[in-house]
Symmetry: C2
Subunit: 212 residues, 2 copies
């Protein structure tokens, strides 16, 4: 079987290291026990070849033979379907995992990402719009806090949905957004205690450090 290849940047500044989205693919492939290769694309000079694989000039993308897929959500779904791991085969279980995969990206990350953009900008000015945005995040996180009350993982066993959600909440936690949300924090801690995450995280740090 052809090997899956992840493409990420050759280098990034210190701030995003450990948080670049290739970690979601590394993590999933480690969990699935699949062999994979990692290759680099220039961070500073993004050319036609980059945009041909990833129309927004972002990373990662996944290639497998003739197949090239961008969007971490689509990549994770592909890994789950290809490996038969990280997502149940029965229709009900599969649908639950896919639903939570979308929820991590579109209900939670959509609120976390603008919040982090303000944090990365060192912008503490409280305007009405900013308050609305903070309220948006607080509401989404409070619902996650409740949902995680008595659940170890989002949809039964650990799945691709947890890889996305834990990675998204981990970024919120970096900027103290989870300080009053013990269930969310415990969930993140459970997730990042997994050997597959630890290896993926260290591999990403090593990859970027090698380019310094």
């Amino acid at each position: 079987m052809t090997q899956i290849t992840i493409t990420t940047f050759d280098w990034v500044p210190d701030l995003p290291r450990g948080y670049v989205r290739d970690i979601r693919l590394r993590w999933a492939l480690e969990e699935a026990g699949l062999q994979y290769a990692v290759q680099s694309t220039p961070f500073k000079d993004r050319g036609d070849e980059h945009y041909r694989h990833q129309p927004f000039g972002q990373v990662p993308w996944l290639t497998h033979g003739e197949t090239s897929i961008f969007e971490s959500g689509a990549d994770l779904l592909y890994v789950a379907e290809t490996s038969g791991k990280l997502m149940p085969a029965d229709p009900k279980g599969r649908t639950e995992v896919i639903t939570w995969l979308f929820a991590g990206l579109n209900s939670v990350e959509m609120a976390v990402l603008p919040f982090t953009i303000f944090k990365f900008s060192d912008d503490e000015v409280q305007t009405r719009g900013r308050q609305a945005l903070d309220g948006f995040l607080a509401a989404r996180l409070s619902h996650m806090e409740y949902y995680l009350t008595d659940r170890e993982w989002l949809a039964g066993a650990f799945s691709i949905a947890d890889i996305v959600m834990a990675d998204v909440l981990r970024l919120a936690d970096r900027f103290e957004a989870l300080d009053d949300l013990p269930n969310c924090r415990a969930y993140v801690k459970r997730a990042i205690s997994r050997p597959a995450f630890k290896k993926a995280f260290q591999d990403q740090l090593d990859h970027f450090a090698a380019a310094d």
Copy 2:
């Protein structure tokens, strides 16, 4: 075959009418030629039953027999897989549509939604964080503008990916974010000229008007 049911709010204020996300499901079901029912859940008093179907207290969700699915992305994927419409059956075409479905939600809507939150708040204060957020949106839209240069639809024939992307860009257009992006505007215009969109849009307006 059991009929699919969409659940949306019983009423919403004027501002979001025509833009509530149940329109994505209405639109897809009209395109697929499936019969469906629409039922209401209270906007003002969201109870346990609501959160059991939609843990974030949002709409829509889709029910089909014993299956209940929230997240418009997951709902559209379910409609496509159930109907055999709006997504090719071959692996390559299917993967492309799924990739663009995620792109609409996680690469484009993630930039459009915070922008609209500021617009809905009538907040024109330009802080550093706000400038970063506007730059994030501008970059994402410029890549869409380029991608749509010589494409009628995102991934071959019209698909669930176009339903999401057109709906997301339509909201950006409402706040003049597409004024200098003729390809994006033409794409939105093409999409919303489809009879299935027109019916879905009018049905949503009628649904909320009936509760006034």
